[in-house]
Subunit: 674 residues, 3 copies
C-alpha cells in the first residue's frame, strides 16, 4: 500500500470492464502516481460476472484486482444488484417494479427491480454468495459496498401489496386497532379484512395520511430488509471484510439510521457542483448528517471530479476538487474515493465525467488531485483518531420528514409550503455561517445530554419515548428550541386530542391558541423582546403563524408586529427543570434565528473554530492529540481572519499569527501552536 | 327546536362517528349554545352503517340523532354513496372508474366509483332503501342529502362505453343521422356500426368536437340518472322528507339545472377563503347561480368555518365567517350549515378545519358564530318569504359552457384563450360593483319577460327553441346584449352554414364579416360612439375581435381604434320588434361594459340597493312585507354610504340617515323606515 | 388547364366530401375565378371510399374530379391511410399504436396506427391498389400524395419490438458486435439473446444512448418503409403519375432525405402565422431544407390561407398570403396549393381556416388570392427552369439531430441546453439577414465542391465517409466552419477514444483541451483577433465553452475574455490542403458570426441579391434565362433599397433604378435590365 496515505483511504471508483484490458496497467500506473490506495470495483457488472444464469466469470475481475494490487491498491467490491442483467428480466419479467398505474419499470436501465420480489431475492442471494465466496480470501479485497444508492422506488406489485398487508398486521395486530389508530372511519374506509387493504395510490391528497405514512415506512423497511439479505451473506462468508453502502446526503426517503445500522461504515456520494451556484451550507449539513448516522467518521465513496450529467453542467473550477476533498475530511470523512477514474464513452452516464477525460489523457483535474495527494500526506498524521464534536444537535426523525412531506393540501402542494428539510436548514444556515457544526440525533434512540443545545425542527410526530427523552434532557439542564407543529401528531400520524403542542405543552409552557397559514408571498413581522433576549431584533416569519398562549412561568421572547396576531406572542421560553425550552410559532428568518443564537452563545459557552466571514467554512476535528482546524474559502475573493493565537499551518509548514489570509478557493489546515 | 332561528335553518355538518360516544352530549350542548337547529349527519359513513354486506348498524346513528334532538336539533341524513366501503371494492373491483388510459381509480378514497356500474347501483339501492326505511318515521330526521358534491369524473369502463352507445342511439336514431349530424366524414370517422364508437380519449384537440360534447352530455346525464335512482327510492319510502344535494357554485361540468330539478332544495358548499385574496364578485355570482337553479331560496350546506386544506391556507379573519353568513342570506340563502363541527384528527381532510379545533375546545370561531346566531335572531323575522329579485338575467346553458371549453386549439389551450365562465364574469363584475344582482336563466326553458335586460354571454350553441325565445323576448320589448360566437354553432356543436351570427343575424342586424384571434397579451382598442351611447369611452377588447357589418337599421355603437380592423364596427345595436339587440364583437373590458351599463341604466329604470363603493356588497331581498337590504363591507377600510332616506338598522336596532358608516368586515341590515 | 399558370401549379386542397354535392359546381366556378389548375383530393376519405370492407365507392370522387376538370383543374389524390376508418379498428384493434406505458392510441382520430402492423399493411395495400387501378387512366388525375405528414409516432407493440430486434440483428450481425459497439457493459446491459432486447422506454436519461439512437433510426426507417409500400404499388400500376408527400419543414424526427428519395417531388406544408410574431429566418430555413432534400424545386402542398387551430390564432394580415406565396416561389417552389378551400364546419380542425369561411362566401382572403393569381401570371414565364443556387451549404444529418437531442442530462433537459436545430439556426439567421440562401447537404452522400463555404453545425456523429468528404472538400480549397462537439462521437453514438475533435483533429488543427457547460443565464465573453480576422469584435458564447489547443500551423481567431478560460483560444483557423478549416469552441452570438461572415465575404467573392435591410427578404432564382430577384418586405414599415443598376419590375411592368421602395407587406420581383 502506498505510503502517502495509510489510515486515510484515498482512491477512486474504477470500471475496468469499460476499457480494453491492455489499458489496465496504464490506469494502475497513473493511479499510483496519485497515491491512491483503494478503488471501488464491479458495481453494475452483473452481466459481465454472470453472462448466463449460473455461468460465472470472475477471471477479468481477478486480473483487474491483481493489476491494481501491483500498485498497492486495494479493492472494495460493489455487489452488482443495482442493475439486473437482461437475462434475468427476460426470465422473470415480474422482477420489474410496478408503478401506481400498473406499468412495469423500463428494461435496459438500473434500479428497476422490486426488493420484495422472490425471484430477484433468489438471484441476489446467488450472486452475492458467489462473489463473497470467490473474494473472501483475496488479500487485496478489503470489503464491500452493497448495491448502489438505495432509494425507495415504490412498487405496487402483488408481492409488495401482500408484504404491506403483513407489515400492517405485524404492526397493528388487529383490524380494530388498525381502523381506530389510523382513523379509517373517515370516508368510510374501515377494513373488515386485511385483504381489503391496498397501498395508497396517487393523488395522495385524497388518501389517508396514516396509511400513506405506513406505506412509506414499509417501503423504507423493504429496502433495509433487502440490504440485510446481502449483509447477512457477506458477514457469514467474509466476517473480516468491512461493509458499507453509498448514501446520498440529504436524500430522505429511506430511514438512513436504519440503513446505516448493520454497516461498518457509512459512505457518502458527494457531488456539489450542478450549476452556477453551490449551496455550501446545505452541503455541510449533508456531511453532518452522514457523520451523524453512526456518530463516527465516514467515507466519501463518490466525490465529484468532473462535470455531472445535467444540462449545461459546469466543470469544477480550478481548486474546487481540492476544496471538496478537504471539506469532506474537515467534516469527518476518513476516506475519499473520486468518481470516477475515466469518463465513460457510452451508456447513460457518458457525461458524468471522471478524473480523466474520455480519451484517457491526464489533464488539469488529474494534476489537481496529485496536488491534493501531496497535501493529504501532510495532513493525514494529524487527523488519525479525530472526529468533529459538535455542541449543537438537531433532532432527525425520518418518520417525521415523511409525515411532514405527506402533509399536502388539495392540489398536492405541501400544506405548510415547505419541504421537510427546510425547518432544519433555516437554522442550520445560521449555525454554518458562525462555523458551528451540528450533530443529527435520532430522538427516539439517542441520548442528548452531550449537547449544549438541541434544536427540534418541527418534530410533528411524537411518541412516549421521544417525549420523555426531550423532557429528560431539559430537566437535566438542556436547552431545547422547537419550531411549529412540534408535538402536533401521534406516531400514527394522527393529530393529538389536546391543545397543541400536545404532550409537550408543559415542557414549553404554552398552548397554541390559534394558527394560520401565510399564503405565498405573505410574511408576518416578528420582533424579539429586549427584556428577555437582551436584544430587540425585527424579523419575519414565513408560511405559518401560531398565536401562543404562555402558561404560568413561561415568558414571551417575541411578538407579532403584523397580521391578525399583531401584539400576540410569537415565541416563548419556559423554565423546565434545570433547563430551558423555547418554542417559536412561525418559521423564522435569519434575523430572528441570529438573535436567538446570539443570546444562546452568551448563555452557554460555545466556541466556534473561527469567527464568521463571508465564504469561509471553518471546522474542527478533535481527538486525543488535540484539535485541527480546516479553514476553507469557497468564495471568489480572499478572506482575512484575525487570529487570537498562533497556529501551525500544516500544508505550508509555516506558523501563522495576526491575520490569516486565505486566497479564493484555497484552504488552510491549522493546529494551535502549543 | 331552538327559538333563536325557526324558519331559517342554522346548524352544522357533524360526524359523531369520528369521536368517542362520550363526547356527543358535550357537542350537542355546545351546539345548543350556538342556537343550532339542524345538523347534517352520516355522509361518508357507509362502512360504519354496513360494516359487512347486509349487516346494518344504525344504533350509533339513532343515538346521535337522539342526543341532538334533546337539544332541539333536527337531522339531514347524507346518503353515504360518495365513499364505497372497502368490502364492496374487494368484492366488485369493477365499480372503480377506468381512466382514459385504462387505469382504475385508486382504492381508499371517495368519489372513485362508476355511476353506470350495475354492481354499484345495486348496492346503492340497498343502502339507500335501508336508510330510508329506518329513518322515515323518525321525527328528528327532516330530510336527505343525496351523495356528496357530484362531479362528472369520466369513466371509460365497458359499462360506460355501452351506455354511451345507447345514449347516442337514443339521440340520433340512425347511424346516418349520427354521421351527418356530427361530421364524422372528417378524418374518415363515419361509423358503420354502433359498436365501432368509442368515447373520445385525450388529447381531445385531436377528437371530433361533436362527439366530445355528446360524451360530456352523457357523463352529466349519467350522474343525474344516478342521483335519480336515490331520489326515487326516498320519494317512495319517505315522501314527507325534503331532498337536497350539495352543489359547488360555479362548478360547471354537470348540468346543474337538470341535477336541481328533482330536488326540493338546492344546497351550496361555500368556501370563500383559499388564499390571500377573495374574489367576491365571483363568489356572488356563484350564489346567484345557486339561487337561480330553482329560482328560490337555497341552503348553504357547507359554509367555511376554518382554514381549508390547501397549502398555506389562511384561517378566516375575525368577522369573515359572519360576513359570509350574512352574504349568503343576502343573496337568497334560507339555511346555513357550517362545515364542520370539529376539525377531524385523521383522514385526508384533517386540515379542513371546522368551528372547533382538533382538541374540541371552543375558541374564537365558536364565539363569532355565537354572535352571528344572535344577529340572525333579529334578522330572521324580516326575511321570511323574501327572495332576491334581479332585473338583469344572464343566459346560462351548461351545454354551451362545455362546448366553449371544448373549443381547444392544438396544444390543448382554449381557442379563445378564455375559460367558459369568463364572458359571464366580465360583465358580472361590473354589475356586482354597481350592487346589481343577476338571475341566471336557461334560455331553452325559461321565460325572459320578467327581466329588463338579458345578457347572452357567448351563447355559441343555438337551437330553434333558444332562437325563438331570444327573438320573442326582444320582439316584446326586451334588451339583449351578446358577446362573440353567439349563434355560431348548432346544438350538435357544428358551425352553422350561414354568415354569423347565423340564425340570429336578423335579430342583431349584423353579419360578422371577419374575425381574428388576439394572441396572448395583444389587445385591441375600442371606442364607443357618443352619438349612439351618449358617451365616448375608450376601452379594450381581448382574445378575439370580429369585424361587424351592420345591416339596414342597425347602428354601430363602438369602433375599433387599433389592429387590422381599425375604424370598423366593434359593437352594434339593432331595433328588433319593440326591443333592442346589442352585439359586441370582442371580449370587452370594464370600461366598455360600464359604458353600456350606464347607457342601459339611463334607458330603463334600474335601481341598485345602494350606490357603488369599493369593498361594498349590497343586496336586497324582497317579499310581500317589503325590502331588506344587506350591506357588507369586505374591505380593510370603513365605507361611508350617503343615504337618500331613513333606514332601520336591524342588528343595532337603530335608525340611520345621512351617512351610513360600515366598519371593515362589518355589515348592516337595513329596512326603509316606512 | 387554365392559361394563367401553366408550368406553375396553383391550386388548393379540397374536400368535396365535406359539402353537399349541389355545392361542388359553385366551388369549381370560384376556383376557376382564381385561376387554379390543381387540387388535392381524397386525403382522409377512407370511410367514404370504402365504407365497409371491400365495398368500394369511387363514384363521388369521380364526379368531383369531373366537376373540377370542367374548369380545367387537375387532381392530386391523397392516399387515405393517415386515418383508418372505424371498421378497421373494430376488426383489428391491434393496428392502434402502443405507447411506452402499454396504452393504445385513441380511436376516432388520425395518425393512430402502427406502420409495422401486418393487418394495417394489408389494408393499406388493398386501398392503395384499388385507388391506383381506378384512377391510373383518368386523364384528370396527375399524381399522388402518399398518406399525410408522416411523423415518427413511436409504437411499442409486439410487432415493433420484433421488427426492432430484426433491425438490430441486420445492423450488427452478432450480439458481440452489438454489445461492444453500444457499450452495453454499462449498467450490466449486455445481451445474451436478441429476445432480451426491448426498445428504450422513458425516461430516456436512464437509457443507453446508442440504443436510443438506433430506436429512433428504426422508427424513422419504419415510416420510410411504410411509404415505400405505397410508392411501389403506385409506380407499378401508374408509372406515368407523379408521387409526392407533404413534409413539415423543420420537423426533424424522420430522416427526410430518405423519405424524399423515392418521391418525384417534395411538398411542404407551410403555415407561418401562429401568433403575434413570425420568425421569418426560421421559415426561410425550412424552405431551404425542403428545396435541399432533392436539390430541385418543390411544391407547397398546404399554404396557410386563414387562421390555424391554436389558441387565439390570428388571421393572416392583409397582404400576408401574397407574401408567403411569393416567398415560397422565391425560395424554390414551383407549386402552390392553399389549405384549404373552405373552413370545415365540423371535426377536429373546424378552426383550421381555409380561403372561404364556413359559410362558403368569398371574402378578403379570396380576393387577395385572386390578386396573387394575376401577379403569378406575369411572374410565371420568368421562373421556368430556374432554381435557387446558394453559395453556402450547411451539413444536415438527421442521425446527428437525433443524437444531439438524445444528449439529455438527468432531469431530461438537453445536455447543452440547446435544441438540435439551434446550432444551424444561429448562423442561418446571420446569413438570412444578409440575403444569402443556404443549401442543406447530407455530408455522407453529397459532394460539397460546388459551395464556397460549408458550415458544419455541431456534427457530433462522424463516420469514415463523412470524415473523408469533409477533408476532401477542404483539401481541394473549401472553407469549413464547425461548432462544438463536431467529431465527438462515432456513428453508434459512442464518444470517440481520442482527444476531440477526434478524427477531425488534424483537419481543424486543434485538440479540445477542456470543456464546460455554461449554466442557464451564464455566457462567456469572446473577442476576435484583429490580426487574423481583420476585425476585433466582442461577442458572447452561450451554453458551452471549449478551451482549444491549436496545433502547429493553426491560428487562434478568437479568445475567451471571461470565465475560467479567460485568455485561452475560443476559435481557431487551420490551413488544410488548399482550404481553411475554422473551429468555434462555443455557441456564438450574432456579433461573432457576423465577424466571421464579414471576413469570409471579403475572402471569397459572394454576392447577395441585395444588401441587408430590416424586414427585407431577398432571394434570387437563377436559370439559363438569367436571374430573377424576389424582394419581400415582411415588416410594418416601407423599405428603401439603393440599387446599383437598373431593374425591370415584373408585377408593375416598370423599370426601377436609384432607390427601390417596397411598401410594408409588399413585394417586388425584379430582373436586371440587361
Amino acid at each position: 500500500m502506498s505510503k502517502i496515505v495509510s489510515s486515510l483511504k484515498f482512491g477512486v471508483d474504477y470500471y475496468p470492464e469499460h476499457w480494453p484490458r491492455s489499458r489496465w496497467s496504464k490506469d494502475a500506473e497513473l493511479m499510483g502516481e496519485l497515491g491512491f490506495n483503494i478503488v471501488r470495483l464491479a458495481e453494475f457488472s452483473w452481466s459481465k460476472i454472470e453472462p448466463k444464469e449460473g455461468e460465472y466469470n470472475f477471471e477479468w475481475l481477478d486480473e483487474a484486482i491483481n493489476v491494481l494490487a501491483n500498485r498497492g491498491i486495494k479493492a472494495i467490491i460493489g455487489t452488482p444488484t443495482a442493475a439486473p442483467p437482461p437475462w434475468i428480466i427476460k426470465k422473470h419479467p415480474d422482477i420489474l417494479r410496478v408503478d401506481p398505474h400498473g406499468v412495469r419499470s423500463p428494461e435496459g436501465t438500473r434500479r428497476n427491480y422490486c426488493p420484495n420480489n422472490p425471484n430477484y431475492i433468489m438471484h441476489t442471494k446467488r450472486i452475492v454468495k458467489a462473489l463473497a465466496l470467490h473474494y473472501r480470501d483475496n488479500p487485496n479485497v478489503i470489503g464491500w459496498q452493497i448495491d448502489n444508492e438505495f432509494g425507495i422506488d415504490p412498487c405496487y406489485c402483488e408481492n409488495c401489496i401482500k408484504a404491506f398487508r403483513d407489515w400492517l398486521k405485524n404492526k397493528y395486530g388487529s383490524l380494530e386497532n388498525l381502523n381506530s389508530s389510523c382513523g379509517f372511519i373517515f370516508w368510510s374506509q374501515e377494513y373488515g379484512d386485511w385483504d381489503e387493504i391496498f397501498p395508497p395510490r396517487p393523488p395522495i391528497d385524497m388518501q389517508n395520511p396514516s396509511l400513506c405514512l405506513d406505506w412509506h415506512r414499509f417501503l423504507s423497511d423493504s429496502w433495509v430488509k433487502y440490504q440485510q439479505i446481502q449483509v447477512d451473506i457477506i458477514r457469514e462468508i467474509a466476517p473480516h471484510h468491512i461493509i458499507t453502502h453509498n448514501f446520498m446526503g440529504l436524500y430522505k426517503e429511506l430511514n438512513y439510521f436504519k440503513l446505516a445500522e448493520p454497516l461498518d461504515i457509512v459512505s457518502f456520494d458527494y457531488y456539489p457542483r450542478w450549476g452556477s451556484d453551490i449551496d455550501y451550507a446545505r452541503a455541510a449539513m449533508a456531511h453532518d448528517v452522514m457523520r451523524s448516522l453512526k456518530k463516527k467518521p465516514y467515507w466519501i465513496m463518490e466525490l465529484q471530479s468532473g462535470a455531472v450529467k445535467v444540462h449545461t453542467a459546469p466543470i469544477p473550477k480550478p481548486g474546487e476538487i481540492r476544496l471538496w476533498t478537504l471539506q469532506s475530511i474537515a467534516r469527518g470523512a476518513d476516506g475519499i474515493l473520486y468518481f470516477r477514474w475515466r469518463s465513460c464513452r457510452f451508456g447513460a452516464e457518458e457525461y458524468w465525467h471522471g478524473i480523466l477525460d474520455h480519451d484517457g489523457a491526464p489533464r488539469r483535474r488529474f494534476y489537481e488531485i496529485k496536488k491534493i495527494s501531496e497535501d493529504l500526506k501532510k495532513i493525514e498524521p494529524h487527523i488519525e483518531g479525530t472526529n468533529v464534536k459538535p455542541e449543537f444537535a438537531f433532532t432527525l426523525s425520518y418518520d417525521n420528514l415523511w409525515a411532514f412531506d405527506l402533509e399536502v393540501g388539495y392540489g398536492g402542494k405541501n400544506y405548510y409550503g415547505l419541504d421537510s428539510w427546510e425547518p432544519s436548514l433555516d437554522f442550520y444556515r445560521v449555525l454554518y455561517s458562525r462555523n458551528l457544526p451540528v450533530d443529527f440525533v435520532d430522538p427516539s434512540k439517542e441520548d442528548l445530554s452531550n449537547y449544549r443545545a438541541v434544536f427540534v425542527p418541527s418534530l410533528m410526530l411524537i411518541n412516549k419515548t421521544i417525549e420523555e427523552n426531550l423532557k429528560f434532557y431539559v430537566e437535566k439542564g438542556g436547552i431545547l428550541i422547537a419550531t411549529p407543529r412540534t408535538g402536533a401528531k401521534d406516531w400514527n400520524n394522527v393529530i393529538v386530542d389536546m391543545a397543541l403542542p400536545g404532550t409537550l405543552s408543559d415542557l414549553f409552557g404554552i398552548t397554541v391558541e390559534e394558527y394560520t397559514g401565510l399564503p405565498d408571498g405573505e410574511k408576518v413581522g416578528i420582533e424579539t423582546d429586549k427584556n428577555v433576549l437582551n436584544r430587540k431584533i425585527a424579523g419575519k416569519g414565513r408560511c405559518w403563524a401560531e398565536m401562543l398562549q404562555p402558561k404560568e412561568g413561561a415568558e414571551t421572547i417575541a411578538y407579532y408586529t403584523t397580521g391578525i396576531y399583531t401584539g400576540k406572542p410569537a415565541a416563548t421560553i419556559n423554565n423546565y427543570g434545570k433547563g430551558l425550552a423555547i418554542y417559536v410559532g412561525s418559521f423564522p428568518d435569519e434575523n430572528l434565528y441570529s438573535a436567538i443564537l446570539d443570546w444562546l452563545m452568551e448563555k452557554v459557552d460555545i466556541k466556534p473554530a473561527f469567527p464568521p466571514a463571508s465564504g469561509l467554512e471553518a471546522v474542527e476535528r478533535v481527538g486525543s492529540s488535540g484539535r485541527i482546524i480546516f479553514a476553507l474559502n469557497h468564495s471568489e475573493h480572499a478572506i482575512q481572519i484575525p487570529l487570537k493565537k498562533e497556529y501551525y499551518e500544516i500544508i505550508s509548514g509555516e506558523k501563522v499569527s495576526g491575520i490569516l489570509k486565505i486566497e479564493s478557493l484555497d484552504a488552510k489546515v491549522l493546529k494551535p501552536s502549543n
